[in-house]
Symmetry: C2
Subunit: 245 residues, 2 copies
DNA sequence: GTACGGAAGATTGTCAACAATCCGGTCATT
DNA sequence: AATGACCGGATTGTTGACAATCTTCCGTAC
């Protein structure tokens, strides 16, 4: 057997780690929207062979975090405000659906996991460990929505979550928003414990908006009717609330 | 400039075409679930370089049609009945949502597109042109749900549609189901014309079940509590007919 | 007769050099 | 001076060979 360090395979792990590191660069604003991702540069920076870097680009593109154009390389994806709004509409809808069809009460094991994550989350916020905050936030959401009983619903929610990572980076550093997120999580836990589905749905939906607002604010307050509305989108009605809500 | 035939680039187009061809092989049952996809074989069959075939595998995996395992290659994905049911649950939910928030009436242009697709669809069925039937069915659904006003909702619906392609292959050859699909499409069009949202939602949701039932029936009626599930080729080495005779 | 171990073949993963392409600046021409 | 061709550097896409891994088959021991 000889047990060589990491002989050849393990490419899955390496790739994942590479993807995660580039993702962090994007989330924490180290790489900004429309900034180019140059293969050789990342090869050097991460000591990774080029084909791995390229595979990572493919994966990141499919995650919705980068855009690749033929013969022009990869750039950090930038979202239009409309796109971001649509993503958040979907997140609201899917998360509401997930908690609506969730079997309550949740198994003890899940509840304990959530409590543990939430406790660690509070600590991480207190210590300003943003990396950990992000990871635990991730874990909290994935754990909650994985319990919805439909793995595809969970998958879709997670996909949109990931896609909106680059948006939420505007909220990640804001202490006020962090405190609010922590409070929301606590409320969700309470609602889960009380099997109060109505409160659960409300929290699951309302919890997502602050990050969106932070994003729009960071983009110059385009969400407010600024003087000249150029009205470029006459082909997109259908965005008011046809929903029950 | 000399205008060489297809000098170097165009890799996007080539890849897409490759993906489409393998997809067809899967949809039409030419490649069956758990059957291996061998790189060299497909290189030969499609006269494509290996890295393209591999890229196609990556894309197909992300479309949900094949599964890749490290050092073991790609196989046609097989779904458990539970997975299929969950996919269909999601499709029902998302399609209902889409037509619920669709702005009615639809623009004339879209309505005309739909009518044209529907007419061609009927013809294709009459001529038993299954490839065309499949394409047009695709077009019909994509066109309808793209009109929902939220491109992410449309994208999610299309993703699940693609993922369930391998499931619907059981229904593709059945004349009864084809006729029923055609009728359902006609009803959807009528509901769209009349701006009858209730009927539209009903049709959009009910339309998806027959294919699911056909799938379950083809799987030996596992939806019914059969005594001895024969579990035919659970471990199937999947290596016999990797080649076409 | 069955089970374990190892070799050979088949298949996938990795790499580095090469070809094609794009981008920016420079120079000649009008 | 403005415009257009063109050339060089930077970057990405492609290829084929090689290394690692898995699978199968066969021989041997019990």
């Amino acid at each position: 057997m000889a047990r060589r360090a990491r002989p050849h395979g393990e490419q899955g792990g390496e790739l994942e780690s590479l993807v995660a590191r580039v993702k962090h660069l994007i989330i924490f604003g180290r790489l900004k929207p429309r900034e180019r991702l140059i293969e050789d540069e990342l090869c050097l920076q991460f000591q990774a062979p080029r084909h791995l870097v390229r595979a990572a680009f493919v994966k990141l593109e499919h995650l919705g975090l980068v855009t690749r154009r033929p013969n022009k390389g990869a750039i950090v994806r930038d979202f239009s405000v409309e796109e971001v709004e649509e993503i958040y509409e979907m997140r609201a809808m899917l998360q509401a659906e997930a908690v609506s069809r969730m079997a309550l009460p949740l198994p003890d094991e899940i509840m304990q996991q959530l409590a543990a994550i939430h406790a660690a989350y509070g600590e991480a916020i207190a210590r300003q460990d943003l990396g950990l905050v992000c990871t635990l936030n991730n874990d909290f959401h994935r754990t909650i929505f994985a319990a919805c009983g439909n793995r595809y619903l969970a998958k879709l929610i997670e996909a949109l979550w990931t896609e909106s990572l680059a948006v939420r980076c505007y909220a990640i550093g804001d202490p006020v928003l962090l405190a609010r997120a922590q409070r929301d999580h606590a409320r969700m836990l309470a609602a889960l414990r009380k099997c109060d589905r109505k409160a659960l749905v409300r929290e699951a939906v309302e919890h997502i908006w602050p990050a969106l607002h932070a994003y729009k604010r960071a983009h110059g307050g385009w969400d407010e009717p600024i003087a000249a509305a150029p009205a470029p989108e006459r082909l997109r009605p259908a965005r008011r609330s046809t929903r029950r809500g």
